[in-house]
C-alpha cells in the first residue's frame, strides 16, 4: 500500500511537472494573445486592438501587411517574418471564428456638437470633401462585412484616432488602390476626432454582415478577391 502511494505520488509529481501544451491553434498563437488579450479580446490599455471576431480576410490582410511593411509595428513584423501565407491565413481564420461578447462602450467626454458631426460623417459622409459615409463600406450596422471589411465599433477612441492618423501621414497602407488613405487625407483633424468619439461611444449590435447591399463607392485594393 505504501509502495502504491509512493508510485501514485511519483506519477502525480510527473503530471504536475510536465507542461501541458495542447495541439491547438489557441496554444500556437499565445504569441498573439500575450498582447491582444485572452482569445484576442483586446488589451485593457486601449493600444492592442481586439482581433477576435473580425472578418478573416481583413485579419489576413493585416498580417501580410505587417510582414511586408505596409503597416509598421516592429514586434509584429519580428513575429510574422518567418511565417508563410498559408499559416497567416489559418491564424486569421482562428481569430475570426472566436465569438465573444463586447464590453459596453467606455463613457467619453466629447462635446455634443463633435459627436453630432461624427455621427453625420459616419452615416452620411461629406460630399463637399468627397468623403463617403463609413456605412457605405463598413456595413449599415458598422459591424464590418465579410470577408475583408472590418467593423468600426468596439474599438477604443485612441485606436481609431491612431489608425486614421497613420493613414493620413502615410504610416499605414493598404494594398493599392489604398482607398482609406484617400479618405483619411480628405478628413480634417477635427473630423477624425469627431468620428472616433462617436464610433467609440456606440455599442456593438452584432456580427459582421455577410454582404454589402450595394457596390462600394471606392475602389479598394484590400478587398479585391
Amino acid at each position: 500500500m505504501k509502495h502504491l502511494a509512493i508510485i501514485a505520488g511519483l506519477f502525480a509529481a510527473a503530471a504536475a511537472a510536465a507542461p501541458k501544451v495542447d495541439d491547438t491553434m489557441a496554444q500556437r498563437v499565445l504569441a498573439c494573445t500575450a498582447c491582444h488579450g485572452k482569445e484576442g479580446r483586446a488589451a485593457s490599455d486601449g493600444f492592442y486592438p481586439r482581433i477576435a471576431g473580425k472578418p478573416a480576410g481583413y485579419l489576413y490582410n493585416q498580417l501580410v501587411a505587417f510582414r511586408e511593411g505596409r503597416r509598421h509595428y516592429a514586434p509584429m513584423t519580428t513575429l510574422l517574418d518567418p511565417l508563410d501565407d498559408a499559416y497567416l491565413r489559418e491564424i486569421a481564420e482562428h481569430f475570426a471564428a472566436i465569438e465573444l461578447p463586447y464590453a459596453k462602450p467606455q463613457p467619453g467626454n466629447a462635446p455634443a456638437e463633435g459627436l453630432a458631426r461624427g455621427r453625420t460623417l459616419v452615416l452620411e459622409g461629406d460630399a463637399a470633401r468627397r468623403v463617403p459615409a463609413c456605412v457605405a463600406c463598413h456595413g449599415a450596422a458598422l459591424t464590418g462585412v465579410q470577408p475583408a471589411l472590418p467593423g468600426l465599433l468596439g474599438l477604443p477612441r485612441d485606436y481609431i484616432n491612431a489608425q486614421l492618423g497613420a493613414w493620413r501621414s502615410g504610416q499605414r497602407h493598404a494594398k493599392a488602390p489604398d482607398c482609406m488613405a484617400d479618405v483619411a487625407q480628405a478628413l480634417a483633424p477635427q473630423d477624425i476626432a469627431a468620428i472616433s468619439s462617436w464610433l467609440a461611444a456606440q455599442p456593438v449590435p452584432g456580427k459582421p454582415a455577410t454582404a454589402l447591399p450595394a457596390k462600394m463607392p471606392l475602389d479598394c485594393g484590400g478587398v479585391a478577391p
Binding site: A18, V29, L30, A34, G69
Partner: protein, 420 residues
C-alpha cells in the same frame, strides 16, 4: 651627402609604389577581360532556369535583394554595416536599373571577382568572398534564372558608407588584404558528400557571413570560418558551428542536422531569430542530398577550443520562471516535444553572449513555417510584460539552472538589446 638625401626620399617612395602596385595586381587576380559581345545574353534552357532558382534559394539572394513588401530581387534593402549603410541593387533584368544590360561574363566577374559590370569594386557586404567559390556552371544558371524574372524598373540607391570606406582605394586595400578569387577553396581528398557540403556552406550558402568571426575591418578568416561571432548591427550572435557547446553538431545524428535545416526544428533545437529566416526562405527548399552534404560537412568540422566554465549560477528569477515560463517550458525546463523547445541543455541559453536569449524573451518568436513544420508554435513577447531587471533575473535563472553554468546577465544587458 646629396646622394643620401636622394636615397632617403626614393626608398619610401619605392615602397609606396610597390605596395600600390601589389594592391592593384591583387585586385585583378584571376580576372578575365569581358568579351566584347557583352550585350549577348545566351539562351537558357528551362532546366538551367529551374536550377538557377534553386541556387538563388540556396544563396538566400532574396534575403538582401528583395526589399520588405517590394518586388522580388528588385533591390533597395538597406543593410547596416559598421562602416555605413549599403543598399542591395536591383537584380531583375531591367536594362536601365537592373542586370538587363549585363552579360553572363560580367555577372561571373561580379560573383567571382567582386567587380561590377562598370569596373567598380563591389562592397563585400555582398559576400563575394564566399561566392567566388561558386562554379562557372552554377553562376550561368543563376544568371539564367535572374534573366527569367519580370524586369522591374527600380533605380539603385547609392551606398551611404562613411569616408574612407566609401572610396574604391579603401576597398582595393581591403581586398588586397582579405580577398582572393578562387574556385578551389576546399582541401582535396575528402568524400564527395563532404566536398559538396563545403561548397554549399562556404559558397552560395555564405554561412560564414554570420557564423564567422569578423575582425575590426569586417573580414572573416575565409569562407569556411565558422567560429561564431556577433552579427554586425543586428544584435544577434551567430554561435560557433565548430563548438558543441554553441551550435556545433559534431555529436548530433546526421538526420537531426538535416531536420533542423529542412523543417526549422528537431528533437533538440528550434531555429530562431535570423536563423529562422534562413530556414524559412532558404534551407527548407534544399533537396535532401544537399542537406545531407551540409550536415556531413558540419559534423566533421574540426572542433574549436572549449571555453572555460563561466561564473557561478544565479538563483534569482525562479519566481518569475514559475509565473511566466513554467506552463510551457516545464519545471525542469524540459519543454514539450515538437512544440516548445526544451530549455535545459539548450545551447542558445548558455552562449557566452546572452544577446540571443534576451532577444527571444523580449520579442518572442515563431519557429519558421516550413513544409515539414507548417503550423509552428509561437513564444509570446515579454518586452511589455517584464522590466529590464525582471528579464535579467529570469535569463540569469535560465543560465544557471539545470546544470547550466553561464554567467548571469544584468539589466543593462537587457536594456541594450531592448534599444535595438
Amino acid at each position: 651627402m646629396k646622394r643620401r638625401w636622394w636615397l632617403a626620399l626614393a626608398l619610401p617612395l619605392a615602397v609606396v609604389l610597390a605596395a600600390a602596385g601589389a594592391v592593384v595586381a591583387l585586385n585583378h587576380l584571376d580576372e578575365m577581360p569581358l568579351s566584347p559581345d557583352t550585350a549577348g545574353r545566351r539562351a537558357a534552357s528551362a532546366e538551367q532556369v529551374a536550377h538557377g532558382a534553386y541556387l538563388a534559394r540556396a544563396g538566400h539572394c532574396a534575403g538582401c535583394h528583395s526589399a520588405r513588401g517590394g518586388a522580388p530581387f528588385a533591390g533597395g534593402t538597406a543593410i547596416a554595416t559598421p562602416f555605413g549603410t549599403v543598399y542591395a541593387p536591383n537584380l531583375t533584368p531591367d536594362p536601365k536599373t537592373g542586370l538587363g544590360s549585363w552579360s553572363e561574363d560580367a555577372f561571373w566577374r561580379a560573383l567571382h571577382n567582386g567587380r561590377s559590370a562598370d569596373g567598380r569594386l563591389l562592397a563585400p557586404a555582398c559576400p563575394y568572398p564566399n561566392f567566388t567559390q561558386v562554379t562557372r556552371d552554377d553562376v550561368r544558371d543563376l544568371f539564367a534564372y535572374l534573366g527569367s524574372l519580370a524586369p522591374v524598373a527600380q533605380p539603385n540607391r547609392p551606398h551611404a558608407l562613411r569616408f574612407p570606406y566609401s572610396t574604391q582605394a579603401a576597398l582595393a586595400v581591403w581586398r588586397a588584404l582579405y580577398f582572393r578569387p578562387t574556385t578551389a577553396a576546399r582541401p582535396p581528398g575528402r568524400s564527395a558528400l563532404w566536398d559538396r557540403g563545403a561548397y554549399l556552406v562556404g559558397g552560395l550558402g555564405h554561412c560564414s557571413a554570420c557564423h564567422g568571426t569578423r575582425n575590426a575591418w569586417g573580414a572573416t578568416d575565409g569562407a569556411l570560418d565558422l567560429r561564431g561571432g556577433a552579427i554586425p548591427m543586428q544584435g544577434w550572435v551567430a554561435p560557433a558551428l565548430n563548438d558543441v557547446d554553441q551550435a556545433g553538431v559534431a555529436d548530433w545524428p546526421l538526420e537531426q542536422v538535416v531536420a533542423l535545416l529542412k523543417t526549422g526544428r528537431n528533437d533538440r533545437a528550434s531555429a530562431s531569430g535570423p536563423m529562422a529566416m534562413v530556414v524559412a526562405r532558404s534551407t527548407q527548399y534544399l533537396d535532401d542530398p544537399d542537406l545531407l552534404a551540409i550536415a556531413t560537412f558540419l559534423k566533421a568540422l574540426p572542433q574549436g577550443e572549449v571555453l572555460p566554465p563561466a561564473a557561478e549560477p544565479s538563483a534569482a528569477g525562479a519566481r518569475l520562471y514559475e509565473r511566466h515560463c513554467v506552463a510551457c517550458h516545464g519545471e525542469s525546463g524540459e519543454g514539450a516535444p515538437g512544440a516548445v523547445p526544451a530549455l535545459a541543455g539548450n545551447r542558445a541559453i548558455t552562449l557566452a553572449s546572452p544577446d540571443n536569449v534576451i532577444n527571444l524573451v523580449l520579442g518572442g518568436g515563431f519557429a519558421p513555417a516550413t513544409a515539414g513544420n507548417p503550423r509552428p508554435y509561437g513564444m509570446p513577447p515579454f518586452a511589455t510584460v517584464l522590466s529590464d531587471e525582471e528579464i535579467a533575473a529570469v535569463v540569469s535563472y535560465l543560465r544557471g539552472s539545470w546544470g547550466h553554468r553561464a554567467a548571469p546577465v544584468t539589466a543593462l544587458d537587457v536594456n541594450r538589446q531592448r534599444g535595438r
